[in-house]
Amino acid sequence: MNKSIYMDHAATTYTKKEVMEEMLPYFTTYFGNPSSIYTLARETKKAIDIGRDKVAKAINADSNEIFFTGGGSEADNWAIKGIASAYKKKGNHIITTVIEHHAVLHTCEYLAKNGFDITYLPVDEYGFISIKDLENAITDKTILVSVMFANNEIGTIEPIKEIGALCRSKKILFHTDAVQAVGHIPVDVKEMNIDLLSLAGHKFYGPKGIGALYVKKGIKIDNLIHGGGQERNRRAGTENVAGIVGIGKAIELATQNMEASNKKLVYLRDKLMNGLLKVPNTRLNGPIGEKRLPGNSNICFRFIEGESILLMLDAKGIAASSGSACTSGSLDPSHVLLAIGLPHEIAHGSLRLTLGDATTEEEVDYVLDTVPKVIQRLRDMSPLWDDYIKKGEK
């Protein structure tokens, strides 16, 4: 099977050719260490400034509020540990949600072992937090609220502006893990009252290994990576110059193309979801309409297990992902699917297909033709399907 259909854009994207081409000279011609004094170094310093300006512009921040990191996980770690450490005299309470990425969840678990109290807000059946729950969770010890902009598994876009407004009125810092949102949906740190924001280049056709943390001017934050004076003494380590050039170009392209790209993605996504939901005994995970990420679809197929679906799809040339336990390497299925109230046995049968700029309607049609056959083949092997059919016959 030579077919190759990539439907896992939420995991990572390819680097766009235009992005890579801008990066290339910074590996060979302009390789100088930006901290040095000679001409060669000045070129790289200039490139970093331009990259920073582009990232800042895309989220309506000022350039001196952008700090480059080694990726989204580092940005999340830094935001949460850095604020916890800088504000620990003020309080030891942090509020987050049950559906965060592990970069946030495991950081909070680490802090909980070191004397912090963490509140995990629940979500409704579509993955939304409630503003009322958030308001009720705030105490005079609360120093930080961290709520993801959009969920990586089920595509739920959280009410970020309302959360920002509430945190601002309560004078509590607000961090959002916007790794799935930046470059895909409008993000405006000023309008949305965001104090800290994490983003990662490889989710919007930039390179891997480069991300950024936005820190609003005037907020004190302790360092995570100690060492040299890079990033205005906030994040040590020789800059990933090519990566910074790449993330800048990628975010610029993503912002320019956003409207047209989303129009196409929403059309293809809805065609895909509606087609797959015609398979009996399936359910959609996450919301429908504008509060769902344009490229995300996530569906559970009852009576079968996700890893089997992925292996069979892979054999047909389709790359996808699942929230089943077997794909996570643990005994439990995805914490996000459990958080929206799915029983284990249904969560095991989830299939996430995430579309991107290169996705074509022909690919969607092929997937719509292939998936139901794979589902039926696995159901024909499943004793649960037998039980279900026999019950129906009685």
């Binding site: 079968i304 297990e305 390497g329 284990h344 095991h348 649960l384 037998d386």
Partner: protein, 142 residues
């Protein structure tokens, strides 16, 4: 995580999928909550396993283990089939990733239960069987 070619072969083209009407012994293990259920059907004639089939809900290695385990006991005497270990199933598949070893345990257990089901239906004494001290065992006990 990478599966061996054997595992992929038995997953993609599983042998012995199905049910045996009026099976002489049936063994079912696992539960839906854990994400795998294995059901093994045996046809026994003159103490020989003349046919074995399975239905499995589970991951790639669960389906491959079911396929391989049923292959390994077909044509064997019931006594020989009883001695099939999960290690033998995993080895016949050219190995399973460590976190997937429990799939081979399920296959061994399903066969033991099916054999004892046959023995009990045939009026024979059921054999003693010590369950594996496996991660799955712990989960199932909750």
């Amino acid at each position: 995580m990478i599966y061996s070619e054997k595992v992929m072969d038995h997953f993609t083209n599983p042998r012995n999928v199905g049910e045996i009407p009026n099976a002489d012994g049936i063994g079912e293990v696992g539960n839906a909550k854990c994400g795998d259920i294995m059901k093994v059907y045996l046809k026994v004639e003159d103490n020989i396993v003349v046919d074995a089939k399975f239905k499995t809900f589970g991951c790639g290695s669960a389906i491959a283990s079911s396929s391989m385990a049923t292959e390994l006991i077909k044509g064997k005497s019931v006594d020989d089939a009883w001695t099939l270990t999960n290690k033998a199933v995993a080895e016949a598949l050219d190995g399973l990733p460590a976190i997937k070893m429990h799939c081979s345990v399920l296959a061994e257990e399903a066969i033991h239960i099916a054999i004892n089901d046959y023995r009990s239906k045939a009026g024979l004494e059921v054999w003693d069987y010590k369950e594996h001290d496996d991660i799955h065992g712990e989960v199932h006990e909750e």
